[in-house]
Amino acid sequence: MAAAGADKVLRDLPALGVGLGFREPFRGDLFMHRDRVDFLEITADHYLDAPPEKLRELELLAEHFTLIPHALNLSLASAEGVDRDYLKKLARLVRRLDPPWWSDHIAFTRAGGVDIGHLSPTVFSEEAAQVIARNVAAARELIDAPLILENITYMLTVPGGQVSEAEFLRAVLERTGCGLLLDVTNLHINSVNHGYDWRDFLRKLPAERIVQLHFVGGHWHDGILVDSHSHPTPEDVWAVMDETLRRAPVKGVILERDENIPPFSEILRELDRARELGRKHERWD
């Protein structure tokens, strides 16, 4: 996709505002606080081979919220290519929901018939960027909705890298024409664990490509900051979000709380705070 065309597609995406990663424990509260949650992100993988109960849940959610499918396992960085069966199921789901965009990660989750079970970093190299571009092109053959790619946390550096992480992200975005789902928690965690300046990292990214943000809090384990989606968003991450919203025409932000689920009032407080930040930078009403 030509850069100018990609930029226009991303610029024209609707501003969705502030939303929540849908998890079953939120279901009842979500409908009671419909006016404070602008949209939902659903984990696509939960609905690919879903029983009828799950699909009815999806229909109910879709009647009340804009839903963004977020996939975990397309393995876009796999040098072996993407799993066609998985891609077909994902395409069916995305077509069913007809979302403004959908997302997956800059990572590989399987190789050589082995399912790793988690998002694994690839080499920051030209070859790896080409692989992702090829896999994104395969996904586009079946899915028309714009794809945005998420940065992951990584505990290890794969040898053979030729560029920095920020330069690699930029190269991937340029080659694929995709938007960026910038997980500001992941950015903060990587900056702490790998000792770099997140502001400097942010300056190297193409701001006009940042479409959506993820945020949440992690926890410390054996001297490493872990992306466990288990704690309130810390002040350092709010600072990254503030700076990102200042620099980039972000269309929506999603709170991703998976573990140690707090009372919904705490979730709403975080959403309200994100909403205020977006308003301050005139990203949404």
């Binding site: 081979d49 029983p51 009828p52 109960e53 796999s78 040098a79 072996e80 590989f108 399987r110 190789a111 050589g112 018939g113 082995v114 399912d115 790793i116 079970g117 988690h118 694994s120 690839t122 080499v123 190299s125 070859e127 790896a128 692989v131 505990m155 290890l156 550096t157 794969v158 040898p159 053979g160 054996d222 490493i224 872990v226 573990e259």
Partner: protein, 204 residues
Amino acid sequence: MGLVEVQRTLARIYTDAELRERFFGDPLNVGREIGLSAEESSNLAQMSAAQIKTFADSLYGKRLLGVGKLLAMTRRTLGARFDAHFRRFAAAPVQGGTPQYLDDAMKFATYLENSLCEERVGSGWTLDLLRYEKARLKAADPKRRVVAAYFRHDISRLVRSVARKEEPPTVVKRATVALWVRSKPHGPVRYSAFSAPSLFGRGK
């Protein structure tokens, strides 16, 4: 070494604890075993063994979390014993890497059922709770029409009580058969339980 080979080797090293330990102990020889040249082995061995172990541990933690959610009542009831059993279960290498949660939970439930039977501790209601969660997981398969399970306790009351976090839970010894039935594949599941009259009165 091309990216395909790098990723294949990494996937094996991440998910196979025994191979990982051997590789970092003797990269050249173990690398040769898995088809790497001396240079390729040397490149991969530059990776921090500690970082890879941390990543592998996170895979284990994620797996435990996923299985624990699918067997939530059993995990809550057994506490640290659940985690200890899972650690032993997960130590065995798995063909194909990290299993899908549902498959993993089903296999672990069978393993745990056998282990609890061997241990012969407690009153047996924990075992019923585990069997209930295992049967419910089986019934989640939309292609299955009928799943039946036998329990030594009034399973519906027990499940309600544990779900409400009652301490101690309401445990009534009463032979019970539970059924999960779909009228057609991919149709909604209906659950019914049929109990014999109380045989042993109210137990703990």
